[in-house]
Symmetry: D2
Subunit: 374 residues, 4 copies
């Protein structure tokens, strides 16, 4: 990850500010001849789109994506497929009318990147937080829609497992429930509680954080690599790069620090078709930085947005004390919309490692077991 | 981070297996004319060295580092300084005698990378866990000793803040205490408890995890960058790449998910010499991926090692059931020695971003405040 | 350079096919607060634009560039400046009407990339050569317009020094002449000859190659680095990546292989203001991969386009023999329009190394001379 | 290529100065289970080794390479194979005795990197030219020995095709002759002439340049990629990064600029087993940056070394005029020993692209022909 790019073989570069002409991305290195239509991408974008319930920002962002390059009609099949050249994606900003940003451009909102952009660059685009806006994450979701198609058989899903002080009960986990409530919550009862809870937060002009869990299934074993190309290291960076994320963990994560070695180690046994099987998954599908074949499980913490009604002490661009409060429409829990973003980042990282592994070792996986002599 | 390399401008590449001829690293991109002696590096290595108390592995690893290249006697000063060319470092393995590894090389120890290396590469060096050994982290500490000298005025310190079920009391935090006990623990009372606790763990052949906190002070504001070059994203990857780490958090981290926006946002006020000042540091010194000037604070969770006396179910290389237990000397809490490693990784990431920021924006920081027109 | 991206700190990514919706690029890592308008970029694009004389393709490509992101009105100055975030550029394709490409999509034109794209990807976009079209070079010119502004005082110019069998006479070199003829030729007499010569080539439906020289003046000494980050290595890659380029040389280049050491080495003497001065520049401004402060001089050879009227033997997609000849409008000498492209690539490489050097060593150049102790 | 590293998936990092403790390299990303012994590497090193005839430097460099990591005895086969982890290589410097370098360290030899290292870094290791020494190329040859084994069936050979004013006669090209004369010359008659010619040069204390041709056969079609990952762009950078190289060309190269489109384009016809065949190879095996399956042919020009007996005007470190002449043993034609270095660089670049192609597209080449639907 560097600059506005991440990934080595499957590589994503994004550009664009919240209220500029457009936001866009370039997905480079995608394998050729993968069927890809606008609908494939739009479907995922619609899951992240604002304005779908009263609990997320009411901004009008239709987020209509355009594929600018990198696909062509397969002469042998008639369907639209990737060509192996860079896939350019573009979403024009429809709501980019010029507003008076003079006030906000002179103030540093606590907990925002206003101050750090200014101190770094000596200038920033203050309109809708410019480049620091969560709007950029739309392009991650778009790239993720492509990444999902790169690894055969892989599925990536996400769910909100904590909102502020409300935790889910994991014994009630139901993946089907995720699509039924506005919170991507897998526990119907918790979702009910969250509804009242967040309504109160919203009305009081406050905000809360959240924890998201993302899970990738059918990830081939062997992805990732020692030592600085560990799969979990890249997942950590990818999730931490999402706006407002302050923590990332894999498998049992921080809780494993309290466990004994006996409780934490995942035992193995012969499974179906001679495949080794893990009897637990504290490792979150990754050992020594390399995927085990068990589901890859990661969680990340999203802080509460600092866009709140209560006035906060801050300073202005001249260094003088100033009071800041947020007016207008905002997300009381930005973590909600981070669910599809987290899925997308996980999908992109795994797709990249899938190609990297194939590059170094080839398609002949050392599976089924045991590894055969070459 | 890719392959066995991390960093963009300040770049570290490591090589070597636990029981091979030697381990080594190349620190490339270091600024020239920085005073650097073997002693500077050895001092840090000695903090990580095994065999210093009964609580860490008793293996004999003198870890004597040799500087192979990249330094020269300054003709203008007489002291040894970096030349700007790659600094090669080497530690020869003194204890690399050939042992019978046939047994272990045919078994997959639960919670180890044995299985994943085999499934990925179809071969692995089983001697002392080969490349997956914690021995590799010695080179990180060596590189970190150089990184510390790259950012003027910066100090990086670390402490163990949780061992298994024992948490420290942060109100008793004393940095001086860290060097006084064998656990890098900043709380003398907790350290006392840990001694008995870990002794019990050790005697029973079990193991426990730990949480480490690393703090960088005097980090210039403005380091890091949107969107995929965020300082916290690189810190997350760097810490997650340490052996046995399963979670990383910045500032208030996972706990911020339970907070309200009011409680979490760090307010600002005019400070000394016109410098803005934060009245709290939930952000851990990073906003929008860019350093604020406040201390950079990160924590990471180390799982309990799976090298335990209790036999565990596993499989062998042929896929048949097998029972595995660890004999010999091992760390009951590998998290202890991770403290200097975590410091080193934090130092390397910040040094890299210091150079990257200087590359893009130049030495004229936008500080003191407010930013001046160029 | 990798995928569709080049540069480390000043980084350019392009996307788009010749007849797709649009072509675009992302210039990432540009320093902030550099004044930049559409006109700055359009001016350079207009020099490369087709249809400006009968000697270049008559295709209508207005090449109107749009800045999509990365600039903002400086609150302190009122002019539009870069913000340090990625600069997205877009040129919509106006002439992208659907044509019948069935014939050409089934044939491999000799000397084109038709076959290699197909053999690599199993699919290609045949419309106007798709991604392999020279149209992509418009985005290089756009990126180069930005790069020119990154290095203070630097000027980059280019000239055509050979067209087919016609060489220029270097004693008549006049930079002002370059803008006066349609060939970017610095020798008025040679330009006159080229006019008749190329008219004959054009009428006969044939084509010729060319050699271009690009020169960067006021390049700070010290840019580039050992060993694989040599300035000339990056220049070689950048120029060789231009369509149809088959050779690159620096300074005296291939001719230096015939010289003696006495004739080739550039002697030095004290110059103005204590600056060392070279009495010749066989090195082309680069020694040991690092700029000397003398002008950086590079030349590259462009092969004659294979789009010619004379039928050539080839095969079709099914492997059967086929005869291919080109119909329609084409450049008899594609090398002409390569002049601004070569300038742009040289500017981008130097801008990147300018930032990389500043990153490692800082702005305090070791100049004036001699280097001062830090 | 950046810093002291090149390659993306097959990646080489070198370190070490001419007269330091040792030189070394790390070959990272090599596929696992490739048989590799010290002898494989030593064989290639011995071809580059100095002191083998009176025409190359008489320095004693036994260049005994040690494999420090990354190989292990295959439990299934008993032979030593790569493990997929970084291969560390080391050559200790036997002749690194401390000499008095004060004189040379204060002078800038014309045509050397003395001045540019100083102006860049403010310091340099003057012993044997330090990092700028041709000694570093030994590690390239070592890495190349590994790269040769990565691409199944590929052979890479090189030959000296011009020495100073003496060209070979290509009609007398005999690959077997290359090993029979001390110049790697494929034309026995030319080699004879070179012997007398170079003896005269040597005795007069002068030097001459050379042109080397390197050829890779059995390169799979489809390697390389648009636009900035072109195979020829990477070859150009790799060859230009060799010490003293001032020009690189592919296939017909600079000469193609004089050709007509008719003469230059390589026609195609159906060949053996349905494989398309090129009836000529002006393209040097690369079209649109992608390998065609024909031999990859590149040439590079090496300038005459500036280490000559005749005194030359220069300046000293204080900027005052000084006269410089070289004493001691040096190569009258450094181009000779560049032959194995050029081969190695070509092998490394192709190995890297072989893995990169496999990563993106997979092992199922689109060959035999025509491409099948996936």
């Amino acid at each position: 990850m560097s600059h506005n790019t991440f990934g080595h073989l499957f590589r994503v570069t994004t550009f664009g500010e919240s209220h500029g002409v457009a936001i866009g991305c370039v997905v480079d290195g995608c394998p050729p001849r993968i069927p890809l239509t606008v609908a494939d991408i739009q479907r995922e974008l619609d899951r992240r789109r604002p304005g779908q319930s009263k609990f997320v920002t009411q901004r009008r962002e239709p987020d209509e994506v355009k594929i600018v390059s990198g696909v062509f009609t397969d002469p042998q099949g008639g369907e639209q497929v990737t060509t192996g050249t860079p896939i350019g994606l573009l979403i024009e900003n429809v709501d980019a009318r010029s507003k008076d940003y003079d006030a906000i451009s002179e103030l540093y909102r606590p907990g925002h990147a206003d101050f750090t952009y200014d101190i770094k660059y000596g200038i920033r685009d203050p309109r809708g937080s410019g480049r620091a806006s969560a709007r950029e994450t739309a392009m991650r979701v778009a790239a993720g829609a492509i990444a999902r198609k790169v690894v055969p058989g892989m599925t990536v899903r996400g769910a909100l497992v904590q909102m502020g002080e409300i935790d889910i009960d994991r014994s009630r986990w139901d993946w089907d429930e995720v699509a039924r409530n506005p919170f991507f919550c897998p526990d119907a009862e918790a979702a009910k509680k969250m509804e009242n809870y967040l309504d109160g937060i919203r009305k009081s002009g406050s905000s809360v954080g959240a924890v998201i869990e993302v899970v990738a299934e059918n990830v081939p074993p062997g992805l990732g690599a020692p030592i600085y190309a560990k799969l979990d290291a890249d997942i950590a960076a990818a999730l931490m790069s999402i706006n407002a994320v302050k923590g990332v963990e894999i498998g049992t994560g921080f809780a494993s620090a309290r466990l004994s070695g006996e409780a934490n180690a995942d035992e193995m046994r012969p499974g179906n078709a001679g495949r080794p099987e893990f009897t637990s998954n504290n490792a979150g599908g990754i050992l020594g930085g390399i995927s085990t074949g068990a589901p890859v499980v990661a969680r990340f913490a999203v802080k509460p947005t600092s866009s709140i009604l209560t006035p906060r002490q801050s300073i202005n661009r001249q260094g003088a004390p100033a009071e800041v409060s947020t007016k207008g429409r905002h997300d009381p829990c930005v973590g909600i919309r981070a669910v599809p973003v987290g899925e997308a980042m996980l999908a992109c990282v795994i797709a990249d490692h899938f190609l990297r592994h194939r590059g170094q070792v080839g398609e002949t996986a050392n599976w089924p077991f045991p590894p055969q002599k070459k």
